[in-house]
């Protein structure tokens, strides 16, 4: 600072501020945080944030419970013994899912104000899928009354049934908006999922509709199947359309499973899932499991023992995290058709689902022996077959825990030293119990969700 400036400061201080009319307001503007941000940077953030949550706590906890993974150390060991605490789930709810939804709400509002339906549509697809994961973990959750800022510090909880209606309504609106012919701003390269491909967004919206209809398989078996199939007609047609988010090759862009294994390492492959792959000589084994001293070996769930690490398909530094994929769509189709007693078509969908998964994971479906045994159903197929193959396909996802709770397949063994029965939901997070106590529903880990009957 020059001497002149220095004196200017003193003069400002002494003379101008003497009567306190100096411009103190200007000083209180934060130069580092903009007061406004365009939708394209808000959407990219929400996309990556949700992917991180799915491959982070949400997917990891779910996969320990479903025995894809075994928690062998510290908190994850306890989770693997069926005791998941309000602290374990706090981070995902408080620092990921709800802030992500808040930012999507901002995108939707800004898009409506400026006339950018494409942004509004994409944000609603994201919002519907965040809502879906959140409600499938906790059941009743705040929504209608939420995201009001100062207007409501204690949002009430909507019944899960209402959340399911909301998901469908958001996706319907999204489909219309994404088809709008005019949009002031539209998605471009900052769209980390589809790079601005609106058709893929629309297909993703339809496929998500199918997923959330299909979740109601026990509430309304027939209608849920019919609605899901109707939606799937406009859904994904190949792996190229999969809704996934790619992670990068550097530490600050690294896949969440990769980061966890590198930095914490309290999970390994579970014995149940690993044996399932080994027993079937599954071509995906090498991609799903990293050999331990030359052997594929999972740890017994509940036991603090060593085991194989996760494989490169799900846990490389740049492994993508899926939101929803074509193989899942085919499994939904198979399951829905089976519920409608259309066994033959169900079998076809099942075969295509398995092959699509093989292509997605290994790059090929040229495994004649495996195909012959596990992807050549004809005439019909059992729910157990569908759900077991879906269980293998959905490794690493949160969604696989929904399937296991909904259908009971595959039947995983009790973990050793279990501290309770298998949880049917996450406990409400400690922050909600602390900051929104009056509204938090009274449930236990074994209170089933609305669709779980």
């Amino acid at each position: 600072m020059t001497l002149y400036n220095y004196f200017k400061y003193i003069l400002t201080g002494m003379l101008i501020c003497m009567v306190a009319s100096c411009d103190l307001e200007e000083t209180n503007v934060n130069p580092d945080n903009p007061e406004e941000a365009p939708n394209r940077v808000l959407l990219s953030s929400a996309q990556a944030g949700f992917a991180y949550a799915l491959g982070g706590d949400m997917g990891r906890y779910a996969n320990v419970i479903t025995q894809h993974l075994a928690g062998v150390g510290r908190q994850h060991l306890v989770i693997g013994r069926n005791q998941i605490t309000e602290n374990d789930v706090n981070n995902a709810w408080r620092f990921n899912l709800y802030p992500i939804m808040q930012n999507l709400k901002v995108v939707i509002q800004q898009a409506q104000e400026e006339g950018s339906p494409h942004f509004s549509g994409a944000a609603k697809v994201m919002l519907a899928s965040v809502l879906g994961v959140t409600t499938d973990a906790w059941g009743d959750i705040p929504y209608t009354n939420a995201f009001q800022g100062r207007e409501e510090f204690n949002p009430t909880y909507d019944p899960q049934e209402v959340i399911y209606d909301t998901i469908q309504a958001l996706l319907d609106e999204a489909i219309v908006e994404l088809q709008a012919s005019e949009s002031l701003n539209t998605l471009e390269s900052e769209d980390l999922i589809y790079g601005g491909n609106l058709n893929n967004w629309i297909k993703a919206a339809y496929t998500l509709k199918a997923r959330y209809y299909n979740h109601l398989s026990q509430v309304n078996p027939t209608e849920s199947a019919q609605m899901a199939l109707a939606a799937l007609d406009s859904g994904f047609t190949s792996n190229a359309e999969n809704m996934t988010l790619a992670f990068g090759g550097t530490q600050t862009e690294a896949n969440p499973y990769y980061q966890f294994n590198q930095q914490r390492g309290d999970i390994v492959m579970a014995e149940f899932f690993t044996d399932l792959l080994i027993d079937r000589d599954d071509p995906r084994l090498d991609e799903y499991v990293t050999p331990l001293k030359g052997n594929f070996a999972g740890a017994t769930s509940g036991e603090p023992e060593t085991g194989s690490d996760m494989g490169p398909f799900v846990a490389s530094i740049d492994s993508p995290v899926p939101f929803i994929t074509y193989p899942e769509a085919q499994f939904i189709r198979a399951e829905a058709l089976l519920r409608l007693n259309q066994g033959g078509e169900a079998a076809e969908a099942y075969n295509e689902a398995v092959k699509a998964s093989l292509r997605e994971v290994t790059g090929s479906d040229d495994y004649p022996d495996f195909i012959a045994q596990y992807a050549s159903a004809s005439g019909s197929v059992t729910l157990e077959q569908i759900m077991t193959q879906k269980y293998i396909t959905m490794f690493g996802t949160f969604e696989t825990w929904v399937d296991i709770r909904r259908t009971g397949f595959p039947d995983t063994p009790d973990p050793v030293m279990a501290l309770g029965p298998e949880p049917l939901r996450f406990p409400y997070p400690q922050s909600e119990r602390t900051f929104n106590a009056a509204n938090v529903p009274d449930v236990t880990l074994t209170t089933p969700l609305y669709w779980d009957r």
Binding site: N33, S44, G49, G56, D57, F95, Q251, E253, Q430, F435
Partner: protein, 1062 residues
Amino acid sequence: MKKILLLSLMLALLLPLSGYSQGRVVTGKVVTAADAMPLPGVSVVVKGTTTGTATDADGNFSLNVPEGNNVLVFRFIGYRTMERTVGNESVINVALQEDTRQLEEVVVTAIGIERETKALGYSVQEVGTEELARSTQPSIANAINGKVAGVNITSSSGAPGAGQRIVIRGATSVTGNNQPLFVIDGVPIDNSTTAAGNPNQGTNAVLSGVANSNRAVDINPEDIESVTVLKGPAATALYGIRAGSGAIVITTKKGKEGRAVINYNTSFTLDYVNKLPELQQRYSQGSDGEFTGTFSGFNSVLSWGAPLDQLRFDGQPYPYDPNGFLVPADSSAATDQRAIAYDNLDNFFETGKTWTNTLSISGGTEKAEYYVSLGHTDQEGVVPKSDFQRTSVRVTGSTQLNDKFRTFGSANYIKSGGRRVQQGSNISGVMLGLLRAPITFDLSGGFGEEGDENPGAYVFEDGTQRTYREGAGYDNPFWTVNRNPFEDDVNRLIGYVGAQYDFTDWVNASFRLGTDWYSDRRTGGFDIQSRAFPEGQVYEDQVFNRDINTDLLVTFDREVTTDVSARLILGHNYFNSRFQRLYTQGDGLAVPTFFDLANAASITTTENTIRIERAAVYADLSLDYKNFIFLGFTGRNEWSSTLPTDNQSFFYPSINLGFVFTEAFDLTGDVFDFGKVRASYAVVGKDAPAYALTTPFASSTWGDGWTNGIFFPFQGVAGFNQVTQLGNPDIKPEKNKSIEFGVDLRFFDNRLGLDATYYKNNSEDQIIPVSISSASGFLSAVLNSGEIENKGIEAVLRGTPVQTTNFSWDVIVNFTRNQSEVISLYPGVETITLNGFTSPSSRAIVGEPYGVLFGGRWARNDQGQLLIGNDGFPFPADEDGVIGDPNPDWTAGITNTITWKGLSLSALLDIREGGDIWNGTIGVMNFFGTSKNTENRGETKVFEGVRVDDGTPNTQEVVLDQDWYQANGGGFGAVEEQFVEDGSWVRLRELTLSYNLPATLLEKTPVKAASIAFNARNLWLNTDYSGIDPENNLTGQGNALGLDYFSMPNTEGYGLTLRVTF
């Protein structure tokens, strides 16, 4: 300085200027006992006569003494009067002891205003040079620890440069800054802490990372003449917002009229770790009673293996131990060599060394005075490779330009910083790596205490890390100290210039411009193969802070009537602060051990700027009636940039009254010397943090609480999100209302004194970022709500049980008791987390003391009895709750000083009663099986409690085994309650034995005075706390308290100090 001028004046009036008596001439020299500085102006009188003189500028005197058996009386304000029998001697040299009990003591109050303690209606306490000198620690905050009532100082750890949490009369702000303002010669300086690590981590950064300094560490204690602590709002009202939590007012050494005095002092201290948690010595690495070695995944980090006495080495090549792998004694592979319990702790910690040197030159003429000092401190920590250096150059001077105009100024350049070590909840934290290590694993790789110097201890030839879990787990501490460096480099300039002009003898004006600039450049990283950042990380963190402060004062001081005098000060203050931080992190290193951003694959940068500007006008009126009623009023109107335009201006007043009843009612007698009662009421405002009015956007990062997460820009795309704190455009200032009563009583010729204060403090309209349900869209909202009450008692008891010519025994007792209660927060908000882990944390909870520990508890029935499950074990309660109160019930510092001729022995006994600490370290060591108490593995126990099913007393025996400790009996279980321990202590904080060389010995040398002292610190500690020294705090200077999670240990030290004056 003023003291001396004042006194010279008095002496000139009181003393007969010449003596006519016949007799002989006695000469001598009077010096200070503390640092052997010559004392000019000391009255030397022959007892019982009016014959006397005063010492000259060099402290020399010459006096005609009548024949006979005479006694000389040496008197000087601020020092103890001393009597010496003349006898046949013709040379009498004396060293006067500083008198801390003086009635007419002058102290520095707010804005550098000097006042007689007698006139004050509020409590202040001074710590003098001599008391400060007894601490040889580099930081001023350590030097006053235990010496001031009402002040609680907690070192974050014994790491070099580690900061201190200083709280005066309890925390008054829920989430704001509760640290006192540091003021040097009337100019406020910055004492903030910038937590190391990625700023995006927010307050979590202090749970891991390195021990941070608070910036008061830059002050060289040797430059300090005295420290005055202004405790309550009445005392600090004139400083306004920044001193809302009290003020530590430092007066530096100045030059004195006379010839140049050169002072040199050097001290050398050896530091040792004073307390560590105990490790079990019986079981090996492994799980389920079997030794597993380092290849067994998670089991490698456990110490639940076979008993050592059942294991033998197999003598086969095993890269982790030259003796081979461990096998059961009855195995065919077994050799005769028994398993070894390695002493990793002993191998790791070293003897710390601190070497301090200060050289100063001071002097002056009638017109000008100067003080120049050069100080250097070089500290090596008890953790290998950790160090801290400080170099300080200080110049202070003043000039009397004419009899009305005086200018003064000071500049202090400091370069400080060092190499700090990863600690806390941190995969690289050295305590974490050390205390979780199985005893059968030699972290030093056979190099023992030389492990830090031999890469073979921590790295294999192929570059992979050598530690007890292959490929994962925690960093070998020897790796961390070598391969995960952190260095900070602070360059700082603190200075002021000022002028005073006397218009008449009762009106003067003064102006002071102070500035405090520093840059703090931190560099470091994690090498490739580090467990937290296997691909390597490098960071470069640049902090720049600039404060400017001006004060303009106009003082009117005159007698209004013969009985009433009045002093009015009108002032203006301007403060401007700018803090900038640029943090750049590079991830993915290409070349090992090369910590440069150019070596990184991806770079992320975070900027952080905080600007605050304030202006204020203030007035201070003091009335003095007959020198026994003192009435003071202050008022300050402040404008702050952090408040919304409508609420920007706010006013707060104070009133204080001092009544010297001994003079009013003429009670002074043989027993009672002095008695005063005082009362005050004050309001102090606190403004909002910067930028609390709006809700802007920020560049995104996402994580999951377990991992480092991802940062934007991501894949080349920018990403922003709305900040999670909802701003408040209607915020108004916080108000802290305080009432204080006190007495000051002196007895027995001033040999016994009691100064006691009761206070009650209510801070209202707290500006709190209240945590709210994230379903609202935000994690917190800035609100104006809530109240904290602090009330307490402070007492200072001073006594001189024995005082003879050559011998004296002095006692000072400082007693502190503060009780806080969070009265309210925000309607519907019962708790606010100050800092900590998801569980436990230190919180503000309505109805509880500030900062209570909150976490998982055992399930209990309504009678508070433990509920026992059907398996015979207690189990966690459904809901977390309050598990401890980290605030001490009371603290006391007792200083005993015994002086015999030139020899002085002083001991500071420091007592803390109560104050819970969550020993998270032990909890986690239980899980891993390394803690001493896990030696009871396999033993049975009947938990005292009632059966949950039928309410009958539990009689079921259960086995305490690995399963128990790895579930609810360990630190990763849900019950933190069981690891909360009482942090009470009694410690001998300081012991000093000093010897002043007699003047006769030095007469023929150029040395005017010399002293040598032996200092010991923390040489005795008595506590039930099972972890490290309970004086530790993971969260450092922040508001949270009582969290110990692999914190760095504290130290004890032994040193020698030599002081020489030329």
